[in-house]
């Protein structure tokens, strides 16, 4: 079953194409590492998948529906590279921020129930931030804030997790712990994962597929296929391809 299907998608900023004619599909249970150099359009691609950016042409289907018509957002967890409009003076506690993740599954008027406390505690423990739950989010370090956002994204145990360089600001220990959690969700709960990363070596330890994006789909397939591809050897040069494949092995 395809969780995401992208057909002939084009995105334009100020009449300049970021990318055009992109077609791809992500199946249930896939763990896709989305790689590419800075400015290649990776973040734009996932924002278009989530309906955060209006495409110039083409279509996106998420769980079979267009993003504007999709209603089951509790199935989706999203961790952005950075918060767009977050104010450092935001007075909410860690617990209050993580609880926002539960709202997507609730009907109007959205209210937290007594049972939600357990889900919040579970997500906080999973990210090892239970001790910070009454701290204000603005008082935390960048890495701690990122852990809060990750806890917020996984609180509903989503079927699809989309992560935009989620561990850029966290320490190596937290990064390993985080990749372990995501790997567990993928393997044990069949959670579909799309992970934007520059660290193709680390991602290759967990991800089942590599999507290399450079304003178009350069490669989309398994790491094994990538490593055996003569086309990719030509595209990257044998040294770079070997680097990704060697670290993956």
């Amino acid at each position: 079953m395809q969780i995401i299907s992208v057909e002939n998608l084009s995105v334009r900023y100020n009449s300049t194409d970021v990318f055009s004619g992109v077609t791809l599909g992500v199946n249930a249970g896939d763990y896709v590492a989305l790689a590419g150099h800075n400015g290649s359009g990776k973040s734009t691609l996932i924002k278009a998948m989530l309906g955060l950016i209006e495409p110039a042409a083409g279509s996106v289907k998420i769980f079979g529906a267009s993003p504007s018509g999709f209603i089951n957002w509790q199935k989706v967890g999203y961790i952005p590279q950075r918060l767009v409009s977050f104010s450092p003076y935001f007075p909410a506690t860690v617990k209050e921020v993580v609880s926002m993740g539960l709202l997507s599954g609730k009907r109007f008027p959205k209210r937290l129930s007594s049972g939600d406390g357990d889900a919040i505690d579970r997500a906080l423990s999973l990210m090892d931030i239970a001790a910070l739950k009454d701290k204000k989010i603005g008082e935390l370090s960048g890495g701690q804030q990122q852990r809060v956002i990750i806890a917020r994204a996984i609180i509903n145990e989503p079927e699809l997790l989309i992560l935009d360089e989620p561990t850029a600001a966290v320490d190596p220990e937290t990064r390993e712990r985080f990749f372990g959690i995501i790997d567990g969700l993928n393997k044990n709960k069949n959670t579909t994962v799309i992970l934007i990363t520059h660290d193709t070596g680390s991602a290759g330890r967990y991800a089942s597929k590599l999507l290399y994006f450079d304003r178009r789909v350069v490669f989309y397939g398994t790491f094994k296929d990538f490593c055996e591809s003569t086309n990719m050897a030509e595209y990257f040069g044998p040294g770079s391809q070997h680097l990704i494949c060697h670290r993956h092995d």
Binding site: K47, L50, G51, L52, F70, I71, W73, Q74, V76, Y78, P80, L83, V84, S85, F86, S87, Y89, F90, P91, A92, T93, E96, V97, M100, G101, L103, S104, F108, P109, K110, R111, L112, D134, K136, I149, R152
Partner: protein, 269 residues
């Protein structure tokens, strides 16, 4: 004069009731606006109110009633300039604010000036609030507070981060529109309290003071409301006792509260 004795006056009772309702309203809405970096929207919409008041005086319509549709239109204009023309909030607010003031000045000039009437709306006079205005303030404030209560989680979520809110299934454009429309109504109501010139202070200052002291979003809401009501009640009492302009007194008391909270925070480390 004793505070209790002072409360025996009918005009003081009206000022206290209307002022408390509007203070709570401004303090709560102000939190969302300040965190969204839309603090000056109150200022911009207040200037549009000036245009609305002038229109009302020109056509002999009660200025508050005339202002509400004009300010709602101004709020809609600000949002559309941000969304469609992709202007930053401050630029959009500046454009609509300038248009509102220009409209007011033009109408006042055509009508040969409104002198005292227009002046009272510019600087406010809470001690001159009528019974009808108390009822209007209470009904409108309660309506706006109920709407905020119903959309509380949506408002917090969009304020925290718009993209994350969208991926939670929240219709962020609708929530933004709701926030601006509620602000527009609040600005019109607050105009009688502190006047067009000082409305934004009532939206910004209690919220900023609360952010310094609060330990959670809920406590910030309560502190912001408490600071707002305290400043209005003390402002009414001081202005009446010492024959000072109420609007300016309320604003300066809010600045004093902010200074005290800052100092307390510094001393506490």
């Amino acid at each position: 004069m004793e505070f209790i004795e002072f409360l025996n006056y009918g005009f003081v009772q009206r000022a206290v009731i209307a002022g408390s309702f509007i203070a709570v309203l401004c303090s709560i809405l102000g939190m969302f606006l300040v965190l969204r970096r839309l603090s000056l929207i109150g200022d911009g919409l207040a200037h549009v109110t000036f245009g609305g008041v002038a229109l009302g005086l020109l056509f002999k319509v009660y200025p508050i009633y005339a202002s509400i549709p004009v300010v709602l239109l101004g709020g809609y204009g600000i949002l559309k300039l941000m969304e469609r023309a992709r202007l930053y909030g401050d630029a959009a607010i500046g454009i609509v604010s300038a248009a509102g003031i220009a409209l007011g000045v033009l109408i006042a000039s055509i009508a040969g000036g409104f002198n005292v009437d227009l002046f009272s709306y510019l600087f406010g006079n809470i001690l001159a609030v009528s019974k009808e205005e108390v009822v209007l303030s209470a009904v409108m404030s309660l309506t706006v507070l109920v709407i905020i209560g119903l959309f509380y989680h949506e408002l917090i979520s969009v304020t925290f981060d718009e993209d994350l809110a969208k991926v939670s299934g929240i219709k962020t454009k609708a929530v933004n529109m709701l926030l601006v429309m509620l602000t527009a109504v609040t600005v019109v109501l607050a105009m009688r309290l502190v006047g067009v010139m000082l409305v934004s202070a009532l939206l910004i200052l209690p919220a900023v003071s609360a952010f310094q002291a609060a330990r959670s979003f809920r406590s910030a809401l309560m502190l912001s409301s408490a600071f707002g009501v305290l400043s209005v009640l003390a402002g009414i009492f001081i202005s009446f006792s010492w024959n000072l302009p109420a609007g300016a007194t309320i604003v300066l008391l809010n600045i004093l509260i902010l200074a005290v909270v800052f100092l307390f925070k510094k001393l506490r480390g």
